[in-house]
Symmetry: C2
Subunit: 587 residues, 2 copies
Amino acid sequence: MIRTAYCGEITERYVGEEVTVQGWVQKRRDLGGLIFIDLRDREGIVQIVFDPKRNEEQWEIANECRGEYVLEIRGTVQKREKENPELKTGAVEIIASEIHILNRAKTTPIEITEETKVNDELRLKYRYLDLRRKPMYENLALRSKLTHSIREYMDQQGFIDIETPYMTKSTPEGARDYLVPSRVHEGHFYALPQSPQITKQLLMAAGFDRYYQIVRCFRDEDLRGDRQPEFTQVDLETSFLSAEQIQTLVEGMIQKAMRDVKGIEVTLPFPRMSYHEAMSRYGSDKPDTRFGMELIALNDVLKDIDFKVFADAIHNGGEVKAICAPQAANRYSRKDLDKIAEHLKQFGAKGLAWLKVDAEGVKGPVAKFFNEELQTSLLEATGAKEGDLLLFVADKKDVVAASLGALRLQLGEELGLIDHDAFNFLWIVDWPLLEFDEEANRYVAMHHPFTMPKAEDVELLASAPEKVHADAYDIVLNGYELGGGSLRIYQREVQEQMFTALGFTKEEAEEQFGFLLEAMDYGFPPHGGLAIGLDRFAMLLAGEDNIREVIAFPKNSKAMDVMTQAPSLVSPQQLEELALEVQTKEG
Amino acid sequence: MIRTAYCGEITERYVGEEVTVQGWVQKRRDLGGLIFIDLRDREGIVQIVFDPKRNEEQWEIANECRGEYVLEIRGTVQKREKENPELKTGAVEIIASEIHILNRAKTTPIEITEETKVNDELRLKYRYLDLRRKPMYENLALRSKLTHSIREYMDQQGFIDIETPYMTKSTPEGARDYLVPSRVHEGHFYALPQSPQITKQLLMAAGFDRYYQIVRCFRDEDLRGDRQPEFTQVDLETSFLSAEQIQTLVEGMIQKAMRDVKGIEVTLPFPRMSYHEAMSRYGSDKPDTRFGMELIALNDVLKDIDFKVFADAIHNGGEVKAICAPQAANRYSRKDLDKIAEHLKQFGAKGLAWLKVDAEGVKGPVAKFFNEELQTSLLEATGAKEGDLLLFVADKKDVVAASLGALRLQLGEELGLIDHDAFNFLWIVDWPLLEFDEEANRYVAMHHPFTMPKAEDVELLASAPEKVHADAYDIVLNGYELGGGSLRIYQREVQEQMFTALGFTKEEAEEQFGFLLEAMDYGFPPHGGLAIGLDRFAMLLAGEDNIREVIAFPKNSKAMDVMTQAPSLVSPQQLEELALEVQTKEG
């Protein structure tokens, strides 16, 4: 039998027609001798009625059906006596004339309901059941719509979709590689790519001019809520364009995607903010600009304060900053604030000072250090009003940023300052090229070793690397880094200087990246691009807070596929063919 | 400066306009004091003229340029005095007013010309230069157009693009897996997927109804011309459709692709041929139907022949078959035919008999066994005419098919019987489900262990597995297997019987595929699908004979990336983190 329409599509326009539907039993009820089956497919649910007086044999079969049985049903659509306004198909029902049980089902370990309270491990183990739930179908359909929209745009803009290898060379920069042992070349390994960065640059060297790919990337890192061992990025690269031109291209892509997927018209261009400004105003390089409550610099105001913690911070080249939480004075008890202070320790903050503003002035443990004059200038500088809560951190610059930045997000959520229907895109530009990694005791690339230093800063690469700015740009959405890009180095001398700044010897650079350096000898064009985290983009558009919700078969927090039990042991023969032995550590 | 148009787009409609172009120096000539530069980008070449009388400084820069320098040039388009009909832009030239050298180039190790005689290893080592050649750009642009066309079609047909994991579980069936050691779970391994077969079936269990993906697959096999360690397939799966409905869907996809990519209108439906008929008429399960010269069964005609080789073959349950090579009698000497016979040994053929047909009858070493009556019936059965060459193989059925099938292809090419502009699609249907693997001494799946046996044959699974036919279908193009598909098993009992037929114990089946069997308990819908080899499809559309020509960065015949030198040695630390030791075999 050939399906007439999806269950979820059987509406009033089918009344009087004979239809065939196929799907799963959502619910079976026996009411006054009639059997009602709610049949579900990916598009929705339709009600089907079996009347023993019309056809007893078919009624018997319907009577036997249980939840999640797979059925094929033919019948005639009629208007319902009592409409169900909650269903798209709620005005009609199908009077069944024929039913076939295509497959039976035991009681499922997960109920197929819109919301679920089932724990994540069980959801992952029975993912094929979890994915029957409407929100999961909708999330994955949204993701498909998103990639389709992006591909259409890239095609319209003359980009060529080129596949790059997944079995590549391991390089020491960046995160940890996943390795793939070679059977043919014993003791040698491929690496799964962390991104097709160098490959796409070589495509520019090949003259492709505009490349894109929606591509899987792999990082063997410790996992967090929004990280997976494998993730997907929208990867693009162009030749001969300026950073601004690339940003404009990407804005067009996002505008189309927002229109196609969410029906939302975003305003272009997106705001640009320098890295320095973002860190200083929001304590973050991916500021959530859906609300204010910015970090306020108070070194000037408090330069003469008698409070040793503040004075020391200022004196030692650090900062005192505050955020002003509007009308929050009565919402946070001393105990709450102690808990917050405790929480901020993970960002290095040794303490949290706070003041509540009331009609008479400021109150709180440190209020005594604020004489009237200081109170006035504090209230003026922070704009704090009666009922507001001021929270201070005094420390090294990066500690202040990290801790107040995190606190700002927490309070923004708790105080309901965030408009959850808003999509605030912005560009963070003017990044530092390098940052000093204390642990490694060397400079590391803020983005990656192929990022172009700003032309005017190239000569600082050797003398003052920390002062070099990059032609780099991140696109941020609602406090998430959606993607990052840059112009790339295309001149061999500059690339060599960059490797030197990163602590590579000439030999190491040659051994790891010799092919790239050599390519720069043969007419490498100026180029640049960007990569967008597709999982994260889809997650934000779907209103979810974990990328697992927009991935069909994600790994759990221990990088395991709970359903298939991967990774698994393999046969001794497989290891032997790869010339490998497992050396389990003791203990 | 912003590009006005690609070099290859500067035609007469730009005459009189000021344009900016960017690209690579294809050629620089000095003629009568003028410098002519042919500038190349991905769309083509345009001629640019530098006149020292107009601007000596710019002329000096142009004079310094060499092949593959990257330039940015502004100038005015004018009609050429002498048109170059070989170039799309041949009616015009650009009179340069401004030139910038964006990057310099040494002499390239590969010349950037349309045709190349450079060996494959050098082409792969300098792939970014090889890809600058026009045919390579066109191949990859064609591939991009092909995938875009397919995606559009799948979207129109309501398919959802869903990404499946690349880090999966290793299973013993099929080819050899590439493994990925886990760091978190010592001694455990992921496997790169040979195809997302089970995953897409689970998506059907999840109710997605129509899934597709253009997805990378991995097989650690010995390599051949049209094989790569990683390859790409167009993967699709549907629920509730018959095999014919799925074939019709795929035909629509191919029709659109042929129209979009080649401008060719193919006729639907494609012919269907049973596996048995294909083997019998063409000696191949992927027959090239662009020409005839079919295999002719001669057991009946020759059943009383006195030639021991033929008589024995017939007597022992084997076959005698021939192909009739039209007007080939004088094109192949006895020595040529000896060489062919030698070549056929690899297919198991112990010998090759042949007859040349002339005005008087048949000539050749075995002619003496053909009396007049036998000659008449032979010529009638084969349709051989004066000047034709008859080639016979007598042996076991599969040896006859393999050897004559290969010979047919060879002679078809040599005799010019093949129309290289034709695209002959056909479906091979009614496959056997299993074949007996002598080496493993057990049945193996002809497609894979999830292929549905024909309903009427299920009961033979236990008693006579070799007689079971499958609901499987391959799509063949010009003698290549373009793709294969089938209906899948969706009932647990049938899947268990299939595993038993394949020699799995209950425990082994449970351990490897327990999650799939369990899924069949919870309402698994009837489903089926297909996968098309994208590399091969693109190769055939591009008129190439090796898939490397349609892959940006392929591996060489030893599975190496010659450019980056992957696979490579990795650091001891990397191995230690994975608890692995390399045990190089002695010798």
